[in-house]
Symmetry: C2
Subunit: 405 residues, 2 copies
């Protein structure tokens, strides 16, 4: 028996652009939802960003799989009327406008609930939809700075440092996807939809985890420690003969295993190193000691030996090494997707693995407006209505009635 | 009318410990699920970690809200028999053992499906449950190293750098929570549960986003850029009179606004700076030029002015500043929770905001084993059975029948 994907039959109207929102709706699409990406006639700006190969942005392709594209001019009252029709037949609306923009377009909360009381509305924004910063423009870098995330990152004594990954976009998108699916289940038991929201700053702040608990409990601000652990030593990056390895002996048992493997088995009985606070104090000495031993073999040599001894460790891999890594290959974390007319696009695979209904690419990223006519027909618009909208330019150049051109 | 929380009525048997799994089950609990944390008689090790105040680890309290605690010795066959009873009545089982451990305890996939075909099984692990590294011990630091995440972080010319946040634990937990709720919806339409899994490495790798697309499309390894943008300049941390501010002018329109606000309005007509590639080449010069202007006012002064001009910018805040920030306060991202016998614990609030059924702390983090007897009764065990288990020590010291001691 073939099982249906988890979100099969769920229709998502997706007004998002760039990254946080498209990542959220991609998660829903990967789980089987029908995602209708509603784009302005000039399209999501990411269509023009990053390396373009055979006429396609691989960045766009990677975050818009499993979506259909409808072009709609929402500055035009007829465009907004079409959006209303789409919302009537949808389960979910996702948007990542600045708070208030959707309301200004005529779709405030009450109106949405009136159009479709079962609608789940997912919103992603920079700072949240209430509070003094609600109107500020947001950006991943700014959210990293304001959330405290950067304050703990970077080398000891150096400046606060962002992470290169657009982590606040992705976290806000992922939290919102989780919130949307939860609210869909809430709808099943309550009969009505509701609004769900995550901000980039709130999502980023949630990553502070025990760093935040410690700050609350002890009142001490965390220091920047680079690759060293704030409490435990040794625990850092070390130098094998041919490159860096990360070693994380998180308790004394594992540390003893590491020291045994390095031929330093008696180190913990040396009065200079017999407690963690002493080791932490002398961590640079320890680092030198360990590096000297580690220089006797390669990364791969140590990784086999230390893992066999039960010591968590691993290579610091660049992306080439990552995608050559047999584990990453076994997990299919890079996939090749055919894009008719644009060749084969390589993209990241699916981080969530389901054993009965594995995520798959049912649809490659859509051409701009490719599904406009189909979706409108599906929403109950007549051929005459579609033709009139097309003639009026509401559906973008791609869908302008050819007789009118 | 009061609506029920989205996951009301969903029962989760939670075998997880430390961080990734407890974070996942906390997400489910925050959404209204009944989470039954099954602990070994000596409890989740996090109960002893971090600052202990009034007999309670604030780290533990922060990641175990909205859970009940049952102590059960799973090395004891009677303990495993009780777990089987709990699984019979559950909707979800979550675990973060190393792959294979649950099967060794007698709960392989087939057995679980036989006990409860509607069960959704969520697993979190380091590298995935298939592939050559399946048996390796995992740790956040190692996953950061192996996923490529560290290779792009850190100062230009410096060593790869981890982020201080346990991001790979959190991402794996959050992805799994999303997968579990999706699979619950899948169960509603298919009639059967399934297994869902995310690894720390796969979750971390998914954050590479457009960095990965660019690598795939152009084949060039990303360089470490610290706080500078890999393509655009100016875009970095700058120095106001009293501290750092992050400024992110992501396109020429916003850059012109920034330059106007700084009294550098004509800079883009200077032939040294009139294209982004030239600016990128001379980004250190530009930084000096901007810093000189920015030194004329405070962080707060510039932030008001630049935001008013529509330039994304913000303070680099430490945790004290974060929790004093009026926006963070408006978003209730720090909450105070009463823990009877342990005072009031401050912890991070809810990153996902629902407008009809806001997340709330219905239960503070439980005392070890506090709900053992209630949960077993609820699972249909008789008083005599519970007494026998208690006498045999299967329920831990907290629940040893007092008559036997």
């Amino acid at each position: 028996m073939t099982l249906r994907p988890p979100l099969d039959g769920i229709r998502v109207i997706d007004l998002t652009r760039v990254l946080s929102g498209p990542f959220c709706s991609m998660m829903l699409g990967d789980m089987g939802a029908e995602v209708i990406k509603v784009e302005t006639p000039d399209g999501d700006p990411v269509r023009q960003q990053g390396t373009i190969r055979d006429g396609l942005s691989w960045y766009f392709a990677s975050f818009n799989r499993n979506k259909k594209s409808v072009t709609l001019d929402l500055y035009h009252p007829e465009g907004r009327a079409v959006l209303r029709r789409l919302i009537e037949g949808a389960d979910v609306l996702v948007e990542n406008f600045r708070p208030g923009v959707l309301a200004k377009m005529g779709f405030d909360k009450d109106t949405l609930a009136e159009i479709n009381p079962r609608l789940v509305v997912g919103s992603i924004n920079g700072f949240g939809s209430t509070g003094p910063y609600v109107d500020r423009p947001a950006f991943d870098f700014i959210a990293q700075a304001m959330s405290g995330l950067m304050s703990t990152n970077g080398p000891p004594g150096g400046e606060p440092m962002r992470m290169a990954q657009p982590i606040t976009d992705l976290l806000a998108g992922l939290y919102t996807a989780f919130g949307i699916v939860s609210a869909l289940r809430g709808r099943d038991i309550n009969g009505t939809g509701q609004a769900v929201e995550t901000s980039m700053v709130n999502g980023a702040l949630s990553t502070m985890a025990y760093i935040a608990s410690e700050y609350f409990a002890a009142g001490k601000l965390p220091e920047r420690m680079g690759n060293d652990h704030p409490l435990v030593a040794p625990y850092s990056l070390f130098d094998a003969a041919d490159g860096k390895i990360a070693i994380a002996p998180s308790n004394d048992t594992i540390l003893q295993r590491l020291l045994d493997a390095l031929g330093l088995g008696t180190l913990l009985s040396d009065p200079r190193y017999d407690t963690n606070p002493k080791r932490f104090e002398r961590r640079d000495e320890l680092r030198a000691l360990l590096n000297e031993k580690l220089s006797a073999d390669t990364q791969d040599g140590w990784i086999v030996r230390l893992n066999a001894a039960g010591v968590p460790c691993g290579r610091v891999q660049d992306l080439r090494e990552v995608f050559d890594d047999p584990q990453i290959r076994a997990q299919e974390m890079a996939i090749d997707v055919e894009h008719p007319g644009h060749g084969t696009v390589r993209m990241l695979g699916f981080p969530v693995k389901l054993d009965q209904t594995a995520c798959e690419v049912r649809l490659p990223a859509p051409e701009l407006g490719a599904h406009t006519q189909d979706v409108l027909r599906d929403a109950g618009l007549s051929e005459a209505e579609i033709e009139a909208l097309s003639a009026a330019g509401v559906l973008g150049a791609q869908n302008r009635n050819s007789a009118q051109q």
